[in-house]
Structures are given as C-alpha cells and as structure tokens.
Symmetry: C3
C-alpha cells in the first residue's frame, strides 16, 4: 500500500512542507525509521533523532523542526501518526456473518451485520447490537445487552445481565460480571453474600486481556464512557469509574471505590475499598491508595501522598547518613570539651 | 417479588420491631437506600445514616439503633442481609441437563442432574458429581474428580488429575493445575522439571476469575475447605493453604509455601517461596512476606513486620526533618560558642 | 513403574554408590521422603535431612554426603531428579489426531501428527508445525505460524499474524498478541493508536497461565529463545526480551522496554516504559525498575537500586531511633550547660 504526502495530508489534515508527490509506503518510529516511511516527532525528547532519521517524511507540530526535510505540519503529530497507521493498516474487511459451530439461543436478538465466530455461545434474551463482532468461544450470558460496533475477542466471558455500550472493545480472556468477593466472615464459615447486581459499561470503552470486573452486590459496577483499561486489571464489586480514565496493567481497585473522570493509574497501583478519588487524579505506578483523594493532583507511594511530599520523604532517607555523621562529630566534640 | 417483615423474619431469624405486616420489595445499602426496601446497619460507622435512611426497615443488632423505625433485631445484620438478598434473588431455576454442542468422553462419569453447557469438554475418566454445573467452554481434563453441587463458570480450565470437593465455585478464566514454574537453571539452558503432582481443593472453596493454581511438582498443591480466593491470584506449586483463608485479588503465593487456617491476605500481597505462615495471620495489602511468620498476628510492609513495628518505622521517617532541624540548631550554637 | 538404581543411572548419568540392584518405585522430596523412592540433595541447606530421610536412595554431588546410604553421584542433583521424574512420569502417549468438534479453516496448514482438540479454532492461513498439540477451545488467528512440537493448553488465544517457534509451551488462558495500551490522550477523547505489529516468540519458550503479551504498535514484540514466563505476567507492546530470561508470576513489563539475556525478575516486579536492562540482571520480588539498568547486577526496591545500596538504605531507617536518642542527650546536655 502506498500514498503520496498529498493523499496523507488530505486524510489526516495538516500542511505539507516539501514535495507533495513524495510516495510513502509505511509508518516508522523516529528512532527505528526506514526509507520510504513517514515518522513523527511526538515530543521534544525525540528532536535529536531528526537529523539522522532515514524516514522520507516527518509529522511535526513546528515547521522549524523539519530542517528542510519533507513533512506535514499538524497540531498533534501523535494523533496524525495514529490516523496514518490506520490508513496503511485498515481493519480487515470481513464477511459479517454468523459462522458455523456457534451456540445461539433462539430467544436472543442478533443485530444486522453481526459476526459470531465458531464456539461462541449467546444465551437466552441476550441482545447483540448491529455490526458487533463476537469472537470464538466467547460466552454471552442471559439478558446481556451489547451495543453496536463492539468487538469481543476470543475467550471473553460476559456473565448474565451485563450492559455494554457502543464501540466497546474487550480483549481475550477478560471476564465481566463475575461475583464480587463478598463473604460474611464467621468463626467457622464464610457465608457467601449473593452478588445480585450487574456491570454497566459505557461507550467507547476498551478493556485489555485477562482483566476481571466484578458485578455489584446490589446495583451496578460502572465503567464510564471512553475509559480505557489495560491487561490483568482487577475491578471489585460496586466500583464506579468515571469517564476517560486510563487504568494501566495489573492495577487493582477494591470494592465500592468511586473514581472521578480522567484519572490515570500507573501499573500495579492498588486502591483500598470504600474510598473516593477526585477527577483528574494521577497515581504513579505501584501506588497504594489508602484513603479518599482530592482530584487534580498527582500522587505516589504507599500510602499514596502528593508526589511532592512523596519525593521529600524519599529524599529524607538519603539525608540520614549525613545527619549521623554530623551527630557523631558533635558527640565527639562534646567529649573533647 | 415481595415479602412482609414477618415472612423475612421467619426465613432469616430475628425479632421484629414495629409492623410485621409491612411489605418489603427489595434490599438496599443504608447509604443508598430506597423506600420499600430493607437495609442493615453492619457496624457502628453506618449509624449516622439511620436517621436519614429512606428504607422501610432495618436489620440491627441493637434495638436502640432503630430509633422507632421498623426493623428486625438479629445477632449479625450482615449475615441477615446476605440471606435476605438470596430470598429476593433466588438462584435461577434451570433444567439441569447436558446441552447440545458439548464434547463428553464416553469414559467419563457424569452424575445425576449435572448441567453441561455448550462447548464444554469433559475428558476420559473424569468424574462430575451430582447437581454440578459445567459452564460453556470449560475444559475438564482426564482423571479429574469434581464433587457435588459445584459450579464452574465458562472458560475455566482444569488440567488432568485434579481433585475438587463439594460445593466449590470457580469463576471464569481460572486455571487449575497448570505446570509450576520449575526449571533447573543452567548457563545456556533451563531444563524443565516435570510437574507430576496435582491440585486438591477442599469443600466450599470459591475461586475468582483469571486466577492460576499450579499443580505440585511431586504430591499435591492443597487448598483447604472454605478458603475463598479472589480474582487474578497466583498460587505456586506445592503450596498448602489451610481452611477458611481469605486471599484477596492479585495476591501471589510462591512455590512450597505453607499457610495455616483462617489467614487473610490483603490485595497485591506476595509471599516468597518455602516459608510457613501460622493460623489466623493477617497481612495488609501489598505486604511482601519474606520469611516464616507466627500465627495470630497482623503484619504489613515489605519486608512484612508486625503492624505496630511497621507503623513505628513509617513514623520514624517523618521524624527525620524535625531531627535535622534540631541538629542544625546544635551545630549553629556550637559555632557561636 | 519401577527401575533399579542401575537403570536410573544408565538413563540419567552418574556413578552408583551402594547396591545397583536396589529397586526404586518413585521420586520424593528429601523433607517428605518415602521408602522405595529416590530423592536428592539440591543444596547444602537440605543436608540436615539426609540422616533422617526414609528414601531408599539419594542423588548427591558429593559422595561424602551419602553417609553410607545408597545413591547416585552426579554433577547436578536437581537436573538428575528432573530427568528421573520424567522417567517415572513419561508424557502420556496419545493418538495424535484432529478430534471431532474443531473449527479448522480449509486455508490453514496443519503439519504431520498434529493433535487438535475439541472446540479449537484454526483460522485462515495459519500454519501449525508437526507434532504440535492444540488444546480445547484454543483460538489460533489468521496468518499465525506455530512451530513444531509446541503445546498450547486449553483456552489459549493467539491473535492474528503471531509467530511462535519450536517446542514452545503455552498454558491455559494466556493471550498472545492483544492490542497494546496505546492511546493519543486528549481533553475529551483517547484516540486509539492502531496496533499493527505482531509478537515473535523464539524456540523453547514456556509461558504460564493467564499471562498477556501485547502485539507491537509497529514491528514486533519479541520473546527470545529459552525465556520462561510464569503466570499472570503482563508484557507490553514493543517489549524486546532476550534469551533465557526467567520472569516470575505477576511481573509487569511496560511498553518498549528492552531486556537483555539471562535476566531474572522476582514476583510482582514492574518495569516502567522505554528503559533498557542489561544481560544477566536480577531483580528482587516487588522491585520497581524506573530507569535503565546495567547488566550483571542484582537490584531491589522501588525505585530499584543495587541490592547493597537498597539494604544500606533500609538499615538507615532502623538507625533513626538511635540517632534521635543521641540527639536528645546532646540537647539536654546543652540545656544543662
């Protein structure tokens, strides 16, 4: 597949600098570029690579960075390259159809142009919206509602009564709606608390592989529109996550936590049960959030503190050996007095 | 579905305070209550919600807490609400049967009233006890024994020769009996140590989604009766866990660890190989257990210490800046002398 | 099954000490031994068990450790026992065949003696090498290449275009080639960056259960020959791992990380994006690697430091209370002056 700079600019936007008829055959990263490709300068730390890049053209936000090379000036080079990648790698066209070897309950409703792959099971009263894609060996429980243009990759499990919005992507092995970890503890028995609620997932959510999202005990566990969840994440029962959050791999959110919108969690962070986290909070990797946190700030450490306080505290430890030295001097001086 | 207070008290136990003919239509949480529902006061921290609750009745342990509202006095309000939830949300009645699209080896033994859903595979010489439920795309390997009244949700994998007790619940994506991480390390090769043992799971165990429990190298990895394991937990080969433990999400237990009964592990805690943990130990979230630990105590931190020592140590760090200040005063005073 | 010491030594190597006609009926661990079995002394810490062991024979590296018992002297007792375990527990012989209930695309290429189990799906243009074993409900996407003598356990998912070498073992629930967590963040939208690359896995790799390995955005995520990966590990897009690494359970490697050969990661360790780790690095459990690290060293802590520095730093904290005492003495003395 190949496109001229002019064709790329027409699809992606931006102003061409240099030869609009230049033929581009693919996309590359600036530090691993190849002739014929278009690359991008995502931020200033990659500026050093521009002079040596073998790419034939570059997306930049500042025309001065081109230093005479061919390129396209755009507001957001990373967004431009994302769109160009899709240009060179269009979604494979498939014959949307229900394939052989599926198990579809007659009392389910399958929308127009839905693709269902071999081994998938759709139970009674489930609804699959138009243009959605249900991969091999996916299980869709009774009374589940799945929106339009969704994509559930192979071996996903969706328990009964779950509601999933439009354009939701769920990667393989992920489980939506399993029972929360709820027991009435006793001396010789842990009595199971029935998990009678469900999970409601908004539009444009993407969920990685082997993640688990528990159904609510009562009511709904909620994932807001445009929230993106990575691989191997645990989300407990009755969690309520706002819009546009980014929850990276191996994060654990305990039960009944409320998270605002546009929050970011670094990998392996964890949140204790029953706390509330404000909008636009950011948590460093491996943070342990032990209490409710105001929004708009960046936190780190365990227990998580504002990152400035966390760094001060870490620096204090380095201080100790210097202090010990001074203290010993004082003690020696005192002895000599 | 609706029940009078009298009917609920008859099923759940307890003494009615107020109108026994009051009609209850559901269950709610005290901080999110709704008219017509019954709620509960699980512990004193929820007392503040009682005056404002819109629920029509409350389970309490102390009749004074009702302040004239309708309610049921029980010893354990949380247990009462768990039973009431089941009253309003009975297990769906299903026609227990082997459905179409299953792969059942003729040399397996399937008990009475077993339900096997589409895409499930039962291999040779496997035994499934009566009233058990095998979900879609579950794989049950050769020589596996599964007890009575078990429930394996879709996409669970049980490797060969595993033994599972009665009333065991295993959620989707969980893998029981995969090979332990055993290699003889060498300069240019890691020789695989054959994992020839199995896993033995007791009665009344519940295991969450996408958890992995390794088979033993020799002998058995053991999970005791009534132990409850959450999502995304790793349990290594030859681990031996006692009865009634609570192991929350994303905990990792390395190989050959022995854990007593009634232990609790907070989320994302980890245990190094070959250590022994006494009965009724409790570990805070994110603990890192690096050596054997006596039972009956609460631990936190990495390396895990008794929680009192952990808190002292954390407090010491906060002390440093005050100490530095004093030290500087002393140094300055000395200079002035 | 039983073998004489002579037969075992003939298969495994080593010099017999004692009665070569002694009949051995199995393998045991030295601290849980049983009459009739052969055990091994893997390292000096197990020496204390030798006098009390009930095993009939012992693999040792030093004949003096036998103290007159029957045994076999070998260079590496752990390797010897691994081979002996295989002797007593040979791989089950199976009729390699494509079983009923599979979904195999006519445009795939299935090698000689390949076993494909019920519910497995093989898509168009996939290639499965000879003697490989594809478990129940495994999904092999379009254009995937799987080498010879591989074993994919039930419920594994391999996305399109992935390349897997020879003698690779992948345990249940693991996902290879899902989309990396790549979004262009914006005020009100997270634009998905198409993940157009693939994953390339070398020879003799073993991957545990419920692990997730992301495909590259551009190019390939790479796992080198002989690298062993445990359960519940996350490997991000464009990660490049060398040969012979050992990556234990619940480790997370963020995107675009480069790891040399023969590195070891303890459980629950994590690596931030875009760093480079030298050959033969070792990281303690729960390490947080925040920058590039030179090879050949052992690191611990978060942020990860050389282990010596980490231990010093930890020891400093214990120092504080002693320092506070001294400081208070000085202050009191000053007041008295």
């Amino acid at each position: 597949m190949e496109f001229t700079l002019r064709e790329i600019a027409a699809r992606v936007g931006g102003d061409i600098s240099g030869n609009p008829d230049l033929v581009i055959t693919g996309v590359s990263e600036i530090q691993n570029s190849a002739p014929g490709t278009i690359t991008f300068m995502g931020n200033m730390q990659y500026k050093k690579y521009i002079s040596d890049t073998t790419a034939s053209a570059i997306f930049v936000s500042n025309p001065d960075h081109l230093s005479g090379k061919n390129g396209i000036i755009v507001e957001n080079p990373q967004l431009a390259i994302a769109k160009t990648l899709r240009l060179f790698h269009p979604e494979p066209e498939v014959n949307k159809t229900v394939r052989k070897g599926t198990n579809i309950h007659p009392d389910s409703k399958i929308g127009e142009n839905v693709m269902i792959e071999p081994g998938a099971t759709i139970e009674n009263d489930a609804i699959i919206g138009r243009e959605s894609w249900i991969g091999s060996n996916v299980y869709i429980g009774p009374d589940v509602i799945i929106g339009e243009h969704c994509r559930l990759y192979p071996n996903v499990t969706v328990y009964r009564e779950i509601e999933i919005g439009n354009r939701v992507i769920i990667h393989s092995g992920t489980v939506i709606g399993c029972d929360g970890f709820g027991f009435v503890p006793g001396e010789n028995i842990h009595e199971k608390i029935p998990q009678t609620g469900n999970v409601v997932i908004g539009d444009d959510v993407e969920i990685g592989s082997n993640t688990a999202i528990d159904r609510a005990t009562i009511g709904s566990t909620k994932i807001g529109d445009m929230t993106k969840i990575d691989n191997l994440v645990h989300i407990g029962h009755n969690v309520n996550i706002g819009k546009g959050c980014l929850i990276t791999a191996q994060v654990g959110i305990a039960g009944s936590v409320t998270i605002g919108s546009y929050c970011t969690f670094g990998g392996q962070a964890g949140v204790v049960p029953h706390v509330t986290i404000g909008d636009k909070s950011t948590f460093a990797a491996k943070s342990g959030i032990t209490k409710s946190m105001a929004g708009g700030k960046t936190y780190a450490g365990y227990p998580a503190r504002e990152i400035r306080d966390h760094h001060k505290r870490e620096a204090l430890i380095a201080e100790i050996s210097r202090m010990r030295q001074k203290l010993d001097q004082l003690l020696n001086a005192r002895k000599e007095d």
